[in-house]
């Protein structure tokens, strides 16, 4: 895959962004909470963007994958704690299990629902989150409504100091790595044959089909990839919150935030989620000091305004304004 130098600069900038954020945590520990949140939200946006941005479809039940990831990670910890296996296995098994669960569920949903046209797919996904949550609560799977609680197991595996380390530095690093991988995945997809097919299908699905793009296959690939990263984020996040119970894990707020970060930042662009994530996190964090819980009230109308008047988001709109400047246009792709 021979790439233009602009594309190479793009991915280096994105990775540098995450590296800098992660590094700043070490240099300014007093800001580590804020920085971690920025990493979390940009990661969420990056993962969500792989599907929404590249296909133009929206999965309103996206948080279900994050929840699955949280469960996958936590259950792995519980399992390893109950055996004599080496503790490090918990940290390896967790992400693997999370991804496996996401792939299975995403494949099922994808094969069934991605044959539906945009609006109908969105309708179907409205229920995925609630449906899965109610299934877990109602059928008492994985602890049902009481959830999974892992601080005890973590302490048993790693000791008190290890517990402190894992729930902060390790989890944060994991998030930064996942975010970077999601950025790389987005970038690889966009610059490959699949990416061109996805771009075509987002612009005009029927025309894309007639031109030879296997739209269903590509939608499913994007969906599963996006879901996998979502679950990995959940896996890391689960290590931070250490109690996973359905109303919180399946909290629709995460989907809302993912939509906000991605769409306002610029759906489909590489830097969109970064911009959206920074804007959203800073607002949420500093607003939270004075007026907690108001960030959604503020961002919802912004989201509506973006959707109705600036559908390309910050990155995309800048790109359009300067569309005659080839370099800037390609850089903000």
């Amino acid at each position: 895959m021979r790439l233009s130098w602009i594309a190479r600069v793009q991915i280096i900038l994105a990775l540098a962004f995450y590296a800098i954020l992660w590094g700043l945590r070490e240099v300014f520990p007093q800001y580590s909470q804020l920085l971690t949140l920025v990493i979390f939200y940009t990661a969420l946006g990056q993962a969500f963007n792989i599907f929404l941005g590249l296909t133009g479809y929206v999965d309103f039940g996206y948080v279900a994958f994050m929840a699955l990831g949280m469960y996958g990670g936590a259950l792995a910890v519980k399992y390893v704690a109950s055996t004599e296996l080496p503790p490090i296995l918990a940290l390896v098994l967790g992400p693997l299990q999370s991804v496996a669960m996401a792939v299975v569920v995403a494949s099922a949903i994808g094969l069934i629902a991605l044959r539906l046209r945009g609006a109908f797919f969105a309708i179907a996904t409205v229920g995925v989150n609630e449906g899965l949550r109610h299934l877990i609560e109602g059928a008492r799977i994985w602890g049902g409504a009481e959830g999974v609680i892992i601080p005890g197991d973590l302490r048993k595996l790693f000791g008190d100091e290890g517990f402190g380390y894992i729930t902060t530095a390790y989890a944060d690093t994991m998030l930064a790595v996942i975010a970077s991988c999601a950025a790389i995945a987005t970038w690889v997809l966009k610059n490959s044959r699949i990416g061109y097919g996805l771009a075509a299908l987002r612009e005009d699905e029927d025309a894309a089909k007639v031109m030879g793009v296997n739209t269903t296959k590509y939608k499913i690939i994007a969906f599963i990839t996006s879901a996998s990263f979502g679950s990995l984020i959940g896996s890391a996040w689960g290590l931070k919150v250490t109690t996973i119970y359905p109303p919180e894990a399946f909290n629709i707020t995460y989907t809302i935030e993912a939509v906000i970060v991605t769409v306002i930042g610029g759906a489909g662009t590489l830097f969109g989620p970064l911009i959206g994530g920074v804007l959203y996190t800073l607002t949420k964090y500093y607003l939270g000091v004075a007026l907690p819980g108001l960030q959604l009230l503020i961002f919802a109308p912004i989201l509506v305004a973006v959707a109705t008047t600036f559908p390309r988001g910050v990155a995309g709109s800048i790109r359009m304004i300067y569309s005659r400047r080839y370099i800037l246009r390609e850089l903000l792709r």
């Binding site: 044959r193 061109y196 097919g197 771009a199 005009d204 894309a208 007639v210 031109m211 030879g212 569309s323």
Partner: protein, 249 residues
């Protein structure tokens, strides 16, 4: 020279509710042929194209392409086999550049699987040079003028290395200066074995440049077939168009 049958429609019928859009259509097109489907609005021309490109499944009958039964093939598979389509109202991908639009044709048309992005873009450049849009290759497709979009539509189809071109009213709305160029491209492709089927509602003199064999469609049935000169002179055609065929010079 042995004419190889490229596309074969066998007794295709397509209904929409109570309306029969196509009735028992049988048609055969050879490699390198220049065919025109002539008919007024509502005759079923667009439905025929939709059936050939795979957007609609026929209620009965079968379609063969290069000897293979493609009746149940989805649109993208037919495109990969070499059926390319240019729409009457151009539908370029608006947010992509001209070059990228054409590159998608190269990537997903015949032989596209093995193509990498660089080569696809290079091929796109070649095709754009052919149709005269090379200078605008980096522009966003939505910024092109109407006739430029029509050329882009054709360029995308050509980039797919098609064996069969489905051209929907490609002459209508094309400025006179471009007509000869367009016709030249289509005829050159025909010499290389690419068959073209053109939908024609308004019979212009220009049509004769890209049609050798004419098939007249009326209310979903083939009512007349022959060389373009014969058909254009026939009484039947005059009847169908109510008031006669008008030649626009």
């Amino acid at each position: 020279m042995i004419a190889i049958t490229l596309l074969e429609l066998k007794k295709i019928t397509k209904r929409f509710g109570g309306l029969v859009a196509l009735r028992d259509i049988s048609l055969s097109i050879d490699e390198g042929e220049l065919v025109g489907i002539i008919g007024p609005n509502g005759s079923g021309k667009t439905t025929l194209f939709n059936v050939i490109s795979g957007v609609y499944k026929p209620d009965s009958g079968s379609i063969f392409f290069a000897g293979i039964d493609i009746t149940s093939y989805p649109p993208h598979r037919r495109a990969r086999m070499g059926i390319a389509r240019a729409f009457q109202i151009p539908r370029p991908f608006p947010g992509l550049s001209v070059r990228e639009n054409v590159a998608i044709g190269a990537l997903f048309g015949v032989g596209g699987e093995g193509l990498d992005i660089e080569s696809a873009l290079a091929r796109a450049d070649d095709v754009l040079r052919l149709v005269g849009l090379y200078e605008k290759r980096l522009e966003l497709a939505e910024r092109l003028t109407g006739s430029e979009k029509k050329m882009l539509e054709l360029a995308r189809a050509i980039a797919m290395s098609p064996r069969l071109l489905l051209l929907d009213e490609v002459m209508a709305g094309t400025p006179p200066a471009s007509i000869d160029k367009l016709a030249g491209i289509i005829r050159e492709l025909a010499r290389e074995g690419v068959a073209s089927v053109s939908l024609v509602e308004h019979v212009l003199r220009a049509v004769a440049k890209i049609v050798e064999r004419a098939v007249v469609l009326h209310r979903g049935e083939i009512v007349l077939e022959g060389s373009v000169e014969e058909v254009l002179r026939s009484e039947k055609l005059r009847e169908i168009y109510l008031g006669g065929v008008r030649f626009v010079a």
